[in-house]
């Protein structure tokens, strides 16, 4: 039974699964309510829910914010892998802290401050998941650019999403060819298992050698192609930026989204006064 379980987990964690999840996350959900909103409005919205929760210690207020961002996360239809990582991340930030507190002589009274901390972290990360995973990378980088974010950063976002599948495929290829030629040690005994683990890590590090050379060549091609199109000139000229950003448009839906969020926040502020 246990063997079966671990087998199915490892089956899921293959390169292909990873690649699919990342791609699905990036380009798979551009028909959702969240993806249809204007990136500038969403970033503004994120600034509120990404910052304000840190400053409040009121459990009701934090709970209200948490409920709202959970709903938007559902609306954005985020890929499962991302949500799993979110769960692990929240636990590893506060769950272990709670256990350690108990170990050092704390008691159940430490739950409340830790609950506050957990709610803060969960709200802030769900807000960022909504905005950064719910949006198309190109729209996201355009929105960031509108706010005067450095051109290099918004370029990095679009570049990363496009290059990642290629890079992963290449890394997998290099890794497989090393494995084909290599002779892994036995992994029956405990000593053998440790040796096997060291062998695996060594292969991964060795695989980065050809990968570095290949990527160096590719990044040169990329930059040269960018230069041909006048990338560095366009990055500093206002006119070019204007043309690029002309596709952004704020609609009624965006205002509606903001107004509903505003209504909800004022409602929980009102309620937090009574509890």
């Amino acid at each position: 039974m246990r063997e079966k379980l671990s087998e199915s987990i490892f089956d899921k964690l293959t390169m292909n699964f990873l690649r699919n999840q990342v791609l699905k996350n990036a380009y798979g959900n551009d028909d959702t309510v969240i993806a249809g909103l204007d990136p500038r409005i969403l970033i503004l919205w994120y600034l509120f829910f990404g910052i304000v929760p840190w400053f409040s210690g009121n459990v009701v207020f934090l709970m209200g914010c948490f409920i709202l961002v959970s709903i938007t996360t559902l609306l954005a239809r985020i890929a499962g892998l991302v949500l799993l990582l979110f769960g692990i991340g929240v636990f590893s930030q506060t769950g272990y802290l709670f256990l350690a507190t108990l170990l050092f002589g704390g008691d159940a009274s430490s739950i409340v401050p830790l609950l506050v901390l957990t709610l803060k972290i969960a709200t802030v990360s769900l807000a960022s998941i909504t905005v950064f995973s719910g949006l198309d990378p190109d729209r996201l980088s355009n929105g960031l650019m509108w706010y005067g974010c450095p051109e290099r950063f918004s370029f990095s976002i679009s570049y990363a999403y496009r290059m990642l599948p290629v890079l992963m495929e290449e890394f997998e290829g290099v890794l497989l060819s090393y494995r084909l030629r290599g002779n892994p040690p036995d992994c029956d005994t405990l000593k053998g298992k440790i040796r096997y683990l060291i062998y695996q890590v060594k292969i991964i590090i060795h695989a980065f050698y050809p990968l570095m050379l290949n990527t160096a060549k590719r990044s040169r091609t990329t930059v040269e192609a960018l230069e041909i199109k006048g990338y560095r000139y366009a990055a500093s000229k206002k006119e070019a930026k204007k043309v690029r950003l002309s596709t952004l448009k704020v609609s009624f839906d965006d205002f509606l989204f903001l107004a509903i969020s505003f209504f909800w926040v004022s409602l929980i502020i009102f309620l937090s006064g009574y509890f």
């Binding site: 210690g57 802290l97 350690a100 050092f104 802030v124």
Partner: protein, 279 residues
């Protein structure tokens, strides 16, 4: 002929180094995000960082481009793409990674000198991890308001953070930074530079040792990381819901609610009319 003294780097070559480091380190951090962590008690054995990639590239190429590329790569690939973007905390990570890689890159004048490469790799990791630990402790102190009054919490935070630091330096530092860097730098030296159209770095063309300016710059950047956390603390009093205007709070909240509800209704009506006109 002042230019000849330094490694000649054009702006587009800097961009190439940036793109190269960003793509490789981003890919690596994406894996570390997914590799399961082995936890024995509170001591964590994890493949914390593939920091050897930016360290190697920072030693071979322009350190500042490699450092910025690594920090951006981590931010974009493993934080934004996986939706783990945490606002304030990311600024600190960005700055500490940049400083760590930059200092390591500046330390090495001649990549053929293996002893220096090893020292630089370890320095980079220790600097980065130590700064990360300091900011982590501060962060918990700010986020939990009655930090001191919770029994056992301060000690547990110091203990877990201290453990994490030692464990990261000794385990990931040696296994995943020192050894791979020592292996990769001599192997790549002289081979990877021509691919970007550059001369390999030698004693003569290095951009000079670490001087006071670098240290002051690093300290200032680290100050920014801490200040952003301090701003969070002072901000607490500004937007505290239990503040002096508590008596009239309900009234203000009701007014805000009414305004919000009104805005929603008006927008719905406008949209309906607008759609009808278009149809």
């Amino acid at each position: 002929m002042e230019m000849k003294k330094q490694q000649m780097i054009t702006q587009s070559q800097k961009l190439m180094i940036f793109v190269l480091t960003m793509a490789l380190y981003g890919l690596a951090t994406l894996f570390t995000e997914l590799i399961p962590k082995l936890q024995i008690g509170i001591v964590e054995f994890s493949v914390e960082y593939f920091l050897f990639i930016p360290l190697t590239l920072g030693i071979l190429f322009d350190p500042i481009s490699a450092a910025l590329g690594a920090a951006t790569g981590e931010l974009v690939f493993s934080e934004i793409m996986l939706g783990q973007f945490g606002g304030l905390g990311e600024l600190e990570k960005f700055i500490t990674v940049t400083i760590g890689v930059y200092i390591a890159g500046r330390l090495v004048a001649n990549p053929k000198n293996r002893k220096m490469v090893g020292i630089a790799a370890m320095t980079g990791v220790v600097v980065q991890q130590a700064m990360g630990m300091m900011v982590d402790i501060l962060k918990v102190q700010f986020a939990v308001e009655d930090f001191e009054s919770v029994a056992g919490l301060p000690q547990s935070v110091y203990a877990t953070e201290g453990f994490a630091f030692l464990n990261d330096v000794l385990f990931s530092g040696i296994l995943f930074c020192l050894l791979p860097t020592l292996f990769l730098v001599p192997k790549l030296y002289g081979k990877i530079e021509p691919l970007l159209g550059m001369q390999p770095r030698t004693e003569k063309t290095a951009i000079g040792r670490i001087n006071v300016k670098v240290i002051i710059g690093s300290l200032a950047a680290f100050g920014v990381a801490i200040v952003s956390e301090f701003m969070a603390e002072s901000g607490m009093e500004l937007i505290d819901w239990e503040a002096g205007w508590a008596e009239s709070k309900s009234a203000i909240a009701i007014a805000m609610m009414a305004a919000g509800a009104l805005a929603v209704i008006i927008l719905l009506v406008i949209r309906k009319n607008h759609n009808r006109k278009e149809a």
